[in-house]
């Protein structure tokens, strides 16, 4: 019986005695690569309870147990490092970008609110929020610098806001610059996710849109896992809390998770949203599977979904009567 080990191929007799062997060269990297290549082999496995280290000694692969362990330590370490270096697949890169985008969104909102509150003491009438406010502050600082041709000139001139001292103006401008930097980061991440999604999962991107598609992959963990989910799971991805409550306390089953943000659902009247969500989840599941297994674009998917949603809406023109 032939068996494969990390240090070589052996021919073993029925009593476990070694009849012949073909040892690998002792290079760490080479041994690690061979070891990795053996991972998925279903044949020539050592029999249950086979003592690898005794065999390695017997064949003369190593001169001592301590050499055996020392070499195996280096080889397993190298193999693990090689695997780790290959772990960042295209869908994992999208997942990283989605997570980074979530962090950026959260911090941008929090710093934008602070800027609004802070600058509001100096020019509460500006009516500006978010990036527009940050850009305004970077440009002018104090409202005294707003020129007559700016649409906000009159409001700035007549503002009840306090006078902005030079030191505070520098502080606010710097703060606004950081906020602007975060807004451009947001755009950069969104653009990356859009183009990566189109390349990785064209069908999912068509059906769900790039951002929702990326979010689904991110919550599932990978495109492979998303493709493996039943569509009933996809329907409630991101509704963990509600789902947990449903399972534990027999609360009503949630109708939709993150797919709620899809325009087909949030533009539908409330009484058909559950049905639309079910149809959408089914199509997303199909799209993810095509993307994972064949990666070719199926041009008919979107038309089918639109038709299905149209039918659902047509069949349910009115809200159900309350009982």
């Amino acid at each position: 019986m032939k068996i494969n080990t990390w240090f070589g191929s052996l021919e073993v007799g029925s009593g476990g005695e070694i009849l012949a062997f073909d040892l690998f060269p002792k290079g760490i990297r080479e041994l690690a690569l061979r070891s990795l290549s053996l991972r998925s082999s279903r044949e020539n496995l050592p029999p249950e309870g086979f003592d690898l280290k005794a065999a390695a000694l017997e064949c003369g692969f190593v001169a001592s147990l301590s050499e055996y362990y020392s070499l195996l330590h280096e080889v397993t370490l190298e193999a693990a490092k090689l695997q780790v270096s290959e772990a960042i697949t295209p869908d994992q890169r999208i997942v990283q970008a989605v997570e980074a985008l979530d962090d950026i969104n959260e911090t941008t909102n929090s710093l934008s609110e602070r800027l609004f509150e802070w600058y509001g003491g100096y020019f509460p009438e500006s009516g500006l929020v978010g990036e527009a406010l940050a850009l305004f502050i970077v440009k002018y600082g104090s409202r005294e610098n707003v020129p007559p041709d700016d649409p906000l000139y009159l409001k700035a001139r007549d503002s009840m806001g306090a006078k902005l001292e030079t030191a505070d103006e520098a502080l606010l401008k710097g703060f606004a610059e950081s906020v602007c930097s975060l807004y451009s980061r947001r755009k950069q991440l969104e653009a990356y996710i859009e183009s990566s999604m189109e390349a990785l999962a064209p069908n999912l991107t068509t059906i769900a849109g790039p951002m929702l598609g990326a979010r689904l992959i991110s919550i599932a963990g990978s495109l492979e896992k998303l493709a493996a989910f039943p569509s009933s799971t996809i329907q409630v991805i991101g509704a963990n809390k509600a789902l947990f409550k449903h399972l534990r306390a027999r609360a009503p089953s949630p109708k939709h998770g993150v797919i709620y943000s899809h325009p087909f659902i949030n533009t539908s009247p409330w009484w058909v949203r559950g049905k639309v969500a079910r149809a959408l989840a089914a199509k997303i599941s199909l799209a993810a599977r095509i993307d994972f297994y064949s990666a070719t674009k199926d041009l008919s998917l979107m038309g089918e979904l639109e038709e299905k949603v149209r039918k659902i809406r047509a069949a349910n023109p009115k809200p159900p009567q309350k009982r």
């Binding site: 494969n4 080990t5 990390w6 070891s35 053996l38 991972r39 998925s40 279903r42 496995l45 050592p46 249950e48 309870g49 086979f50 003592d51 690898l52 280290k53 362990y69 020392s70 195996l72 330590h73 397993t76 370490l77 193999a79 693990a80 490092k81 695997q83 780790v84 772990a87 947990f244 399972l247 534990r248």
Partner: protein, 227 residues
């Protein structure tokens, strides 16, 4: 000078400010996960937080811990190595084959493994023991903490291939990873039954206790192969 008590081979209780579980540091001067180092008469101990380690909790719940300094261990679910580091301290002249499936955890685990000669990292699915059959020798103990719904099956498969006739299985079962809705008690009963009967080889349960107050809804199990 702190008072030191031996609880099990290689496992100590040190009294310094409070009672603390500890092992002798195999990698002197280095800390793995923020634990404390306590030096007593030239020996350096690493404290071991039972709230961060199922095995540590099992020690305090008075499980018999079948580990000695030359133990060969198959550790399934190494994560980033918090507990493995203590197993490595105890089996200082043995071997700890450490299987972990998540490459993110393995990234951190490699840092630990590279400093300790008795750790052999394996990035693989513990449910597929064939994939590391060319590496792992027969072992004296399988420790398993994998949080998979089919953990009884995983234990059986690994035991069939790698566990010595007289070897032991130490298992931590997390109720939530089996079923989020059922009661932990029911789940534990079911899982123990599976360990005993559902797969070849069956196990004989030696000890089964919950790991409160260190871990909620976790059952610790010590078992050996049926004769």
């Amino acid at each position: 000078m702190p008072d030191i008590k031996l609880l099990s081979e290689g496992i100590f209780e040190i009294m310094k400010d409070k009672r603390q579980l500890a092992t002798l540091n195999l990698d002197p001067g280095k800390v793995v996960y923020g634990e404390k180092l306590i030096s007593v008469e030239g020996a350096e101990y690493r404290t071991w937080d039972p709230r961060r380690s199922k095995l540590g909790a099992m020690v305090l719940k008075k499980f018999n811990i079948p580990l000695s300094k030359d133990s060969k261990v198959l550790y399934l679910g190494a994560a980033s190595g918090t507990t493995v580091s203590h197993v490595s301290d105890i089996a200082s002249e043995g071997a700890v084959y450490s299987v972990e499936f998540a490459s993110r955890s393995m990234r951190d685990f490699i840092r630990l493994a590279s400093r300790r000669k008795n750790i052999f990292p394996i990035l693989a699915d513990a449910g597929k023991p064939d994939s590391y059959a060319h590496i792992v020798e027969p072992v004296d103990l399988i420790f398993q903490d994998v949080a998979q719904p089919n953990q009884a099956e995983i234990a059986a498969r690994n035991a069939a291939r790698f566990l010595n006739k007289n070897g032991y299985l130490l298992l931590s079962i997390k109720a939530r990873s089996i079923d989020t809705a059922a009661s932990p008690k029911e789940i534990f009963k079911e899982e123990v039954k599976k360990l005993e009967q559902a797969f070849e080889p069956g196990f004989e349960i030696l000890t089964a206790r919950d790991l409160m107050p260190y871990h909620e809804d976790h059952l610790g199990v010590l078992a050996k192969l049926k004769e």
